[in-house]
Symmetry: C2
Subunit: 219 residues, 2 copies
Amino acid sequence: MVSQAEENYLKAVFAISEKEGKSATTNAIAATMQTTAASVTDMLKRLADKNLIAYEKYRGVLLTPDGRRIATELIRKHRLWEVFLLEKLGFAWDEVHELAEQLEHVQGDALVDRLDAYLGYPKYDPHGDPIPDAQGRWTLRQQVPLVTLQPGERGTVTGVQDHSSAFLQYLDQLGLGLGVEVEMLERIPYDQSARVRAAGKTELMLSEKVCQNLFVKTN
Amino acid sequence: MVSQAEENYLKAVFAISEKEGKSATTNAIAATMQTTAASVTDMLKRLADKNLIAYEKYRGVLLTPDGRRIATELIRKHRLWEVFLLEKLGFAWDEVHELAEQLEHVQGDALVDRLDAYLGYPKYDPHGDPIPDAQGRWTLRQQVPLVTLQPGERGTVTGVQDHSSAFLQYLDQLGLGLGVEVEMLERIPYDQSARVRAAGKTELMLSEKVCQNLFVKTN
DNA sequence: AATTATTTTTAGACTAGCCTAAAAATTGAT
DNA sequence: ATCAATTTTTAGGCTAGTCTAAAAATAATT
Ligand SMILES: [Mn+2]
Ligand SMILES: [Mn+2]
Ligand SMILES: [Mn+2]
Ligand SMILES: [Mn+2]
């Protein structure tokens, strides 16, 4: 049995370490979980006892195969529920994450698989993040931050780096959602902001911060 | 804040006391929750401190208005999720309860109301139990145990008393689901079993136990 | 290399929720 | 009314998970 708290820690370790294959530090986990380093050390011992992480004092941690499987299933559930909340219940993309944080802990293999089928086996969640399949396989995507596009280059919005409500609502306001075509028109050297054409017509001024947090697939 | 454990206790008190308006005893709650009387007493003190129950030592408990509201919302969520699992995900009526026990604890007013709308504001759950509306109002139904029907009388199956998998699966096997028309043909004095016509054609022999656990609305 | 700064772990304490065993209160039976 | 049976509460202890403060280990600087 794995508790909800344990699941959340595994997810945090996955998010931190799986990016680069490097181990997750106590402080990094504490920051992600919004808790203290002492609480993290406590939990790391428990997770190591259960063989869900490889832990050496002062050396950070990595997931074991079991730990990685649990984290992957949790992410799968989280993102499927996000799709459900958006597609079926009509929530906005900035409202689904908090609810999915709760729904991801509901246990039941049949539930996940039936939900997956009901949603049509989606490969990406409302933020463009990939959804692992029932075997834990990921469908990764070629995407780059908008900031890397040269003037004249075009792309399609495929995801966000920042998942905050503030950012997502601002994108809504700008008319920038997943699937929208964008063309880089000009980079302003003074502040690294960008002039961009969206959906073939609207012309927008985007700050460097926005351009760093928006992923596009180049056409 | 009300924990999941507290919510479950309130639901148990509701189930026991709201039936007759009489107070729920420590032992009755312990039996429902499958725990010890000592644990119940512990929790009753906490719930009384939060003004969710009226508790006098050795005298049993009743819900306060706040407690009743929380219990009602929990039942509403539970039964709406059961409808979702059956109608949308295709689970059988004997599979939905366990999952709903988990889903009922997901917090979010908007979630419940959107789910309700998505399901078309159902008034009854897959077992025929009433679903309170957003204002906590119940749509009660005239129904009696099948055992009370006299030979020649007809009715429509509207619910079950026993929610166990064993009973529900047996009903499936007999072709007795919600909405099926039944006619009492004969009561056997020897063992109180009954000969019943189902859906206008099939003739069934039902034990007294089955007849007590099946609710019908007389036509 | 020695010292300082940072990170991590340990020590000790707290709450929620559960348990068993014993004591107290209530109910039922003579 | 008294005694016995039952129900309920209390007492004490356990685990999971959290915290703060202090100690220990590691990393960075001089
Ligand atoms: Mn999310
Ligand atoms: Mn997401
Ligand atoms: Mn149920
Ligand atoms: Mn039900």
